[in-house]
């Protein structure tokens, strides 16, 4: 299971808790634009990422560029891993 798969599964679970189905969500779709996740669910996703990948997110890093899509989240996590912080 890749990082993208794990994040996709989490998004599907968060969306399911809101009574919707996100199984067909693509990894390049902008999460906020889909309307599947509300702002609180986005925050839940960020908190889950911190715990799942053992990182602390800096408030300045939380942007559409880094967390807009699942692909962008994976790229951000890879950059964090490469930089060792």
């Amino acid at each position: 299971v890749t990082g993208a798969d794990r994040i996709h599964q989490k998004v599907v679970a968060l969306v399911s808790a809101l009574g919707r189905d996100a199984r067909s969500l693509r990894n390049d779709e902008v999460l906020l634009r889909t309307g599947l996740l509300d702002s609180a669910a986005i925050l839940e996703l960020l908190v889950w990422i911190e715990e799942e990948f053992s990182i602390e997110l800096d408030q300045d890093d939380i942007s559409v560029d880094n967390f807009g899509t699942i692909d962008q989240i994976v790229e951000y996590l890879n950059r964090r891993q490469e930089s060792g912080c």
């Binding site: 809101l18 509300d38 609180a40 925050l43 960020l46 908190v47 997110l57 408030q59 939380i62």
Partner: protein, 151 residues
């Protein structure tokens, strides 16, 4: 909308007040209480002196507190001292709810899920401090998008 409540509390100070014994106290700063669910728990996080934040800083501060709440890592100072509060059950698709007034405050606004394009905005308030007309004025201002948001 939560930030709009801060601006309204600045312009109508009596909604940012409390009654203790027979004396009414107007708070100097607006400490916005905002409900955050964490698992089975519920926090009222406090954006202290929220009137000093611009839009971006306000959102950043509130998001920071929300994430700390979800991790159950809030400091006592981050959950105390609210002077006016906001709660929403829109995400749970609840069309109307009636929150309990936090201690030493006069008003909490209740935001709900929209039905057929419109949502019910409600409030619980201390009738010894605020009149119904005061609350209607606040809710009417809240429902209007501010000029900066209507671009």
């Amino acid at each position: 909308m939560a930030r709009r409540l801060v601006a309204i509390a600045t312009s109508i100070p009596r909604i940012n007040s409390t009654l203790v014994d027979d004396a009414r106290y107007l708070y100097e700063g607006v400490n916005l209480g905002f409900t955050v669910q964490s698992g089975a728990g519920l926090y009222l996080v406090t954006v202290a002196d929220a009137q000093n934040y611009d839009e971006r800083a306000f959102v950043d501060r509130l998001n920071f507190l929300q994430r700390k709440a979800m991790k159950n890592r809030l400091e006592p100072s981050e959950t105390t001292g609210a002077t006016v509060s906001f709660t929403s059950m829109a995400r749970w698709n609840v069309p109307r709810h009636q929150p309990i007034l936090p201690p030493y405050t006069a008003m909490i606004v209740a935001h709900s899920a929209p039905r057929n394009g419109s949502a019910v905005l409600g409030a619980t308030y201390d009738h010894r401090v605020l009149t119904g007309a005061d609350v209607v004025a606040v809710l009417n201002q809240l429902k209007e998008p501010p000029r900066e948001d209507s671009r």
